[in-house]
Symmetry: C2
Subunit: 545 residues, 2 copies
C-alpha cells in the first residue's frame, strides 16, 4: 500500500471513529437551534432576501465531488445556504400548515434514536424497540377502541397478530388500511387463492363484480386518491361524496352513490370517515358511517391523521363518537402528538386482520418471528415509536388534553375576531382547530348579498385574485404565515372560492399574534387596492342595473 | 381559569419553550452515545441478561398515563430499559445485516434536521430543502446515467420533471418504480383514460391481456413481492426466475418464461435486475437484461439498494455495466451511503416519466408548483436528503470508492479464510461484500461428497439444525453477530440449505475480528456436539452400506 493510500484510509477511519468536537461549528449550530428553537431566524419565518430561484443556484452542481471536503467548510455551507434559507415551521406565527413548536425532550431523544440507528424491520437489529413499538400501538389502540386489559394482554406481544402498523406518515397509513381492506375482501376462498396471490383481475372475477369502490367525502386527503391509484382500483373508484353545510359527508348523497354502484355491479370496498379534514378540520358523522358500513358489510376506515388526539379531551372526544367502530384508524404522530416529522400509524380493530398483508422472507421475517417487518408496508425503518412513547409518557393524557382544548378554544376565539371584523368573512367555522376565511371588504359583502349568481361569480374571481396575492405577499414578507386553499362552501351556493386557511396547533401562538395576522392582511389589502378597483367598478354597475 | 389550570398551562408551555439543560441526564446519554458510538454496550453487541420475553414485560402497560411524568424519570427508563436492551448495530463485530458505523458528522447534521423539522412535501414548509433534494437526486442520477451538463441544467429544478423521488427506504423505492412502470404501460390512450384513473381491470381490457408480469431472479428482495401485491398484480405475476451457478438470473430460463407468458396472453410489465442481492450480494447481468427489456419493450428496473454505490469504485463499477440503461434504479442511502436509517431513493432515467404518478391537491401541490409531494409515494417527509448531500460532499467520490473497495477486499479475504478452514464450507463467494458459508466438519464434507442425493438431503437437515443453533447461540452471547438464510445453491444440486450470511460494510471490521467469528463458531460447534452425533451415526451407516 502506498503512503498516500494509507493516509487516505486513516482519514476515512477518522470519519467513522472520531467523536464530534464539543465546540465544533456543526455542534454550535445544533446547540443554537436546540437552545432557541423559536429564534433561529430571528423575527422571520423565512429569510426574505432570496427567491426560490436564487436559492436554486446554490444547489445546482450535479457532479459528485471527487475529493473529500472539510467538515468545517461543509458546515459553513449548511449554515449560510440551508439553515438560513429554511422555514421556521415552529414559529408561533406560522399558522398555515400542520406544524408546531416541539416539546424540548423530543430533540435529545431523537438524537439518541439516530445514534442507536436501530432497524425495526427485524428483532435482530432492534431488540427492545420491537416490544416498545408494539406497546405504543397498543396504547393508541386502547385510546381509540378501549378494549379491556385481557384483550391487550392477549394481543400486545403476539407476533401472529398486530394492533396496528407503524410507518413514515399518514399517506402510508391510509394506503396500508386500504390495502388490508382490499386483501380481506378478496381473501382466499375455495379455489381462489386470494388477491395478494392472484391479483385484482382474478379477484373481481371471483367476486363477480366490475370494480371495488372507496367512498369518502370530497374533503378527503389526497393520499386516498394516491392509494386507490397504487392499489390498482383507479381514481374513478374513489367517489368524492358531496358535503353538507358543515363540510361533513352528506349521508343522503352517500346512500345514493351506494345504490348507484350496486346497479353498476360495483362492490363497496370501504367507507372512509374523516376525523379532522386537512382543509377545514371537520369531523364526519362517524357513528352513522359505521352503521352504513355494517349494513353494507364493508370496511370502515377513519382517517384521524389530524383529529385522532382529540380523543384525549374529555370535552371534545364526543365529536369522534363512532371511531371505536372503525376497522382501521390512521393517526399521525408528527401532527398532534408533537413528534418530529416522519411518524405515522394505522391501528387495526381486529388484531388478526393483519394476516391479509403479511409478507415473509428467508433471511428475516420468518413465519412465527416477532419481526415487525412482516406486516408493515415499509421495510427498514428507524425506531420512531420511541418519540411517541416519550410524548405519551411525559405529557400524559391530561397534558395532551390541555393542548387539544387550548387549540380549539383559540380557533373559536379567532373565528369570533374574524366574524366581528367588517372586512373579513369567516368561511368555515372551526369544529376542531382549523378554520378558513377571506378578506372581503364590508362594501363588497353588502353588494354581493344582493347580487345574482352570475354577478357573484365574477366578484369571487376578483376576490380570489386578491386572496392569492395577499397570501403570497404575507408569505414572502416572512412575519406570519397562513396557507390557502379552494373550497365550495354550501353558504356560497356551491361557488368555488379561494380562502385563507389557519391551523392552530402551536401552543405558543397567542390571540394577539392572530390579531396581528388580520392587521397585516388588512395592510396588504390596502397595498393591493388596485385589485379591488375592478370589484368596485363592477359593483357600482350592479347598483345602476 | 382556576389556579390549578393556570399551573398546568404554564408547565405545558415550559415543555415547548425551555431549552434542554446542557447537563441533563438525557443530554448525557446522548453525549455518551455520540462520543463513543462504538462503546455504549461495552464489549457486547446486545445485552445478554434478558430474553425478548423478559424485555416485553417492561413494555406491557397499555394505559396512556393520566398525569405527566418528569423527564428525568422517563430518562432513567430510556437508559435502563431501552438503550441497554438495544442492538449495537454499529459494532465492527455486527456483520450479519446491512448496518455499519456511521460517519460522525451524520449525528449533528441529523440533529439539525430534527430541530428544523422541515416538511419536504411542499416548498412552504421546506424552502431550501426542496432544491437541495433535487440536487441530490441529480447527483446520483449523474452517477448512474452520466448525462451531460446541459441535461442536468435543463432538468434539475424543472418542477414538471423529476430525476427521481426520495422516500423512506428501498421498499417504497421499488414500489414507486413498479407503480411508475405500470402507469406508463397503461397510460391514457384514446378513450382509455389511463390506469391511474380507470384501474387495472379496465387497463387489462384496454391492453387485451390477462395480466401484467414482473420478472426478477429468485434472489430478489421480498419488497418486490409486496409491491406486486400492493399494485394489484398479484404475487403469481412476480416470476422468480431461476439463477445460475453464480446466483445470477438465468437468462435462458428468463427467455423461456417470457415465451410462456406470451402464450398465456400476459404482458411483461418489467424486468428487474439486482445490483447486489440481499442474501448473496450478487449482481445480475444488467447489460443483457437491458437488451431483453429493449426487445420486449418493457420497463427495466434495477434494484441497486445495496450495490448502487459500487459505481463509486473505478475497480468494481464495471460489474454494474448496463445499469445506465435502466428506466429506474433504487438506491438506499442508509446502506452504502452511510446515512442513518430511513433514506431511500428511486431514480428515473427519463425525467418526464414521473407524470404517470403525479397527484395534486387544492391546498398544496397545485399543478405547476415546485412541491416535491406531487410525485412521491409518501406525503409529509423530513429533509433527509441533507444527509446524503453531506455524505457526497464530505466523503467525496474517492472516499466512497475506498469504502467500497475495502469491503470487497475484506470479503474476499474472509472467503479465503473460510475456504482454507477444513470445517467450513464457503457456499456463495463474494462478488461484492456479502458472502455465505456454513459449518460442516471435514469428516462430514468428505462423506457427503460420496453420498447419494437422498443421503445428502438428510445430512443437510441435520447440518441446518446445527447452523440455526450456532447462529442463535452466537447472537445471544452478544460478542459477534452473523445472520442466516436459506439458499438453493447450484453446487448443492438444488438442495435447500441454511447458511450463515456475512455483510462487510463497516470499515471498522478487521480481518482479526472475522477470524474470531470463525473461532467462536467452532467453539459453539464443539459445545453442540450432540447435534453432530446423529450425523456421524448416519454417515457411518453410509460407509457400511
Amino acid at each position: 500500500m502506498t503512503e498516500q493510500a494509507k493516509a487516505n484510509l486513516e482519514n476515512l477511519y477518522r470519519i467513522f471513529t472520531v467523536p464530534e468536537a464539543p465546540d465544533s461549528t456543526l455542534g454550535r449550530i445544533d446547540q443554537a437551534l436546540t437552545a432557541d428553537l423559536a429564534g433561529f431566524l430571528q423575527q422571520h419565518i423565512v429569510a426574505t432576501g432570496c427567491s426560490l430561484e436564487e436559492i436554486e443556484r446554490d444547489f445546482s452542481s450535479t457532479q459528485i465531488p471527487e475529493e473529500p471536503t472539510f467538515v468545517s467548510d461543509y458546515t459553513e455551507f449548511v449554515k449560510n445556504k440551508l439553515v438560513a434559507q429554511s422555514v421556521h415551521t415552529a414559529s408561533p406565527g406560522f399558522v398555515g400548515h400542520m406544524t408546531s413548536a416541539m416539546p424540548y425532550f423530543m430533540l435529545p431523544l431523537s438524537r439518541i434514536l439516530i445514534a442507536l440507528n436501530q432497524n425495526t424491520v427485524k428483532v435482530e437489529t432492534s431488540k427492545a424497540f420491537t416490544p416498545l413499538e408494539r406497546q405504543v400501538l397498543a396504547m393508541l389502540h386502547r385510546l381509540v377502541f378501549a378494549q379491556d386489559d385481557a384483550f391487550y394482554q392477549r394481543y400486545i406481544h403476539d407476533s401472529r397478530c398486530a394492533l396496528g402498523a407503524f410507518c413514515s406518515g399518514g399517506t402510508i397509513a391510509n394506503t396500508t388500511a386500504l390495502w388490508l381492506a382490499r386483501n380481506r375482501l378478496c381473501k382466499p376462498d375455495g379455489m381462489f387463492r386470494g388477491i395478494a396471490q392472484e391479483g385484482l383481475l382474478r379477484a373481481l372475477q371471483h367476486l363477480r363484480c366490475e370494480g371495488l369502490v372507496v367512498l369518502a367525502s370530497r374533503r378527503a386527503h389526497y393520499s386516498l386518491a394516491k392509494g386507490v391509484d397504487l392499489l390498482g382500483l383507479g381514481r374513478d373508484n374513489l367517489i368524492p361524496v358531496e358535503t353538507d353545510e358543515n363540510n361533513r359527508i352528506d349521508l343522503r348523497c352517500l346512500r345514493q352513490h351506494c345504490q348507484r354502484l350496486q346497479d353498476e355491479n360495483k362492490r363497496v370496498l370501504a367507507l372512509v370517515g374523516i376525523a379532522g379534514t386537512t382543509e377545514t378540520g371537520t369531523v364526519d358523522p362517524l357513528d352513522a358511517l359505521a352503521d352504513l358500513a355494517a349494513e353494507l358489510e364493508c370496511h370502515f376506515h377513519v382517517d384521524a391523521a389530524w383529529g385522532g388526539p382529540t380523543l384525549f379531551s374529555q370535552t371534545h372526544r364526543g365529536l369522534l363518537k363512532g371511531i371505536e367502530r372503525a376497522d382501521s384508524v390512521t393517526i399521525d404522530a408528527h401532527k398532534q402528538l408533537y413528534a418530529p416529522m416522519g411518524a405515522g400509524m394505522v391501528l387495526f380493530r381486529d388484531p388478526r386482520a393483519v394476516s391479509a398483508i403479511e409478507h415473509h422472507a428467508a433471511y428475516i421475517l420468518r413465519p412465527g418471528s416477532k419481526d415487525l417487518g412482516t406486516h408493515t408496508l415499509e421495510g427498514s425503518r428507524p425506531g420512531k415509536a420511541l418519540l411517541v412513547h416519550a410524548g405519551l409518557s411525559i405529557i400524559g393524557r391530561k397534558g395532551y388534553e390541555l393542548l387539544i382544548d387550548q387549540g380549539i378554544e383559540r380557533a373559536r376565539h379567532f373565528a369570533d375576531c374574524i366574524r366581528a371584523h367588517p372586512d373579513f368573512e369567516l368561511v368555515t367555522a372551526p369544529e376542531l382547530n382549523i378554520l378558513t376565511y377571506r378578506y372581503n371588504p364590508a362594501w363588497s359583502q353588502q353588494a354581493m348579498a344582493q347580487a345574482s349568481q352570475e354577478q357573484r361569480r365574477v366578484a369571487n374571481v376578483l376576490l380570489d385574485q386578491l386572496t392569492v396575492t395577499i397570501q403570497k405577499a404575507q408569505r414572502e414578507a416572512g412575519n406570519t404565515f397562513v396557507s390557502r386553499t379552494r373550497l365550495e362552501p354550501a353558504q356560497y351556493q356551491g361557488d368555488s372560492i379561494t380562502v385563507f386557511r389557519v391551523v392552530l396547533a402551536n401552543p405558543l401562538t397567542t390571540d394577539a399574534l392572530l390579531e396581528a395576522v388580520l392587521a397585516e392582511q388588512c395592510g396588504w389589502a390596502r397595498r393591493f387596492a388596485e385589485l379591488l378597483a375592478p370589484l368596485q367598478a363592477l359593483q357600482a354597475g350592479w347598483r345602476q342595473a
